[in-house]
Amino acid sequence: MTYQFDWSVLWTGQSGEWLLQGILTTLGISTLAWLLAAALGTVSGALRTVPFAPLRALATCYVEFFRNVPLLVWMFFWYFAVPPLLPGPLQDWLFNHGAEFWAGMFALGVYHGARFSEMIRSGIQSIPKTQFEAALSTGLTTAQTYRFVIIPIALRLIIPPIANESLNLLKNSSVALTISVTELTFQTRQIETYTARAFEALTAGTVIYLALCLGIATLMTKIERRFALPGMIGRVASAEH
């Protein structure tokens, strides 16, 4: 093989700018989607453990439907199928403000929310029932018990699986390139298209992803150590897919 490497394509022309912009978009879409996923996951995960059956069923439907369908299908669904159904002014606003970014963010957040939900549920269920009863007997209402006792403990218990899943979210944000979100993988391909330098462009993208994942994993380990509850490690069964 006589392939002449030319790494300068990564910083000549617009490549550097594209890569930087790709990193920022990847981090931006992942952060917003993470916040949405954390909110949806916490609420639906908590609802799956409440005594009131209709709420439990609603949360179960959300989780089982969204996490069992490929993310790519959700990207297409939220980008191509949903906007035409929205009221006119909202549609206009969306198409003037990067509809693909919001659709991608929404798809990513709703999909991972369902996956977070499973982890939060197993976190809550790993808390001894007596904690719940003790909290109720001090006069707290069910909602207060969740808000002040159960959720804070559960969140600390599930930091390791959530950390892992957050990295999956970051990696899955690459699927948004299918709806033309200009994230890191998209920009990598753009450099490849403009320079015909597949090897260099893909190497740059891969190294950046590895660095991001490694950086976040290190940060998460620190957080994990800071918040670990002594004697409660390993109580949460690892969540399934």
Binding site: P70, F77, T188, G205, Y209
Partner: protein
């Protein structure tokens, strides 16, 4: 809402897209099943290598696993899409590229399942087998692996569900799976809501039934 578009194209969507019978080399199952089988075979080697005592076997296997778990699957698919023609000097069909990418990528995850499965077999088993005079290779082949495989089954079914969903990403390089089939029909009919909702339901039916089965297996195979 006009779901007749689904009825009109059901043959193409299900036969071609999901199962792979038709004019295109395609199909979600036709990619997912060989990918899990081949990925598992490669995964056994990687899982065993990760448990090896020799560092130059153990460390490359560890790097392999950590590398592929730190990179998005989309990126891996593009690597194979661009690099295989460069190395082989011949263009490979989408099916070959997608299958190679999935086998290599999934092997990293399956290797971890294999490793966990082997580690779940009690240590005394290996010692007992060795003390009856079996060689280390025989101990692995006749005593440890059969028990480890049984312990792995629920995790393998779960991984197959993940892989099954991930095969939708092969549509990015033009492989005609269920997602691509819906895209093709949508380009002609412009009915995104009906079509994407329909394939979401098809995917859901497949994965949900598999995940129920995984849960059933887990209950049945858990000792005690």
């Amino acid at each position: 809402m006009d779901f007749t578009v689904v009825a009109k194209n059901i043959d193409f969507l299900i036969l071609q897209g999901l199962l792979g019978f038709g004019n295109f080399v395609g199909g979600t199952f036709r990619l997912a099943i060989p990918a899990i089988v081949l990925g598992f075979i490669l995964g056994i080697f990687i899982g065993l290598a990760r448990l090896a005592r020799t560092p130059w076997i153990r460390i490359p296997a560890m790097v392999y696993v950590e590398f592929f778990r730190g990179v998005p699957l989309v990126m891996v698919i593009f690597w194979f899409w661009f690099i295989i023609p460069l190395l082989l000097r011949v263009p490979l069909p989408e099916y070959g590229v997608a299958l190679t990418a999935f086998v290599v990528f999934e092997a990293a995850y399956l290797g971890e399942i294999v490793r966990a499965g082997i580690q779940s077999v009690a240590r005394g088993q290996a010692e007992a087998a060795m003390s009856t005079g079996l060689t280390p290779a025989q101990t692995m082949g006749y005593v440890i692996l059969p028990q480890a495989l049984r312990n792995m089954i629920p995790a393998l079914v779960t991984q197959f569900i993940v892989l099954f969903k991930d095969t939708s990403l092969a549509s990015i390089i033009g492989y005609v799976d269920l997602t691509k089939a819906a895209e093709i029909v949508n380009n002609r009919e412009i009915r995104p809501f009906e079509l994407y909702l329909f394939i979401a339901v098809v995917y859901w039916l497949c994965t949900y039934s598999m995940s129920r089965y995984a849960r059933y297996l887990e209950r049945r195979l858990t000792p005690g």
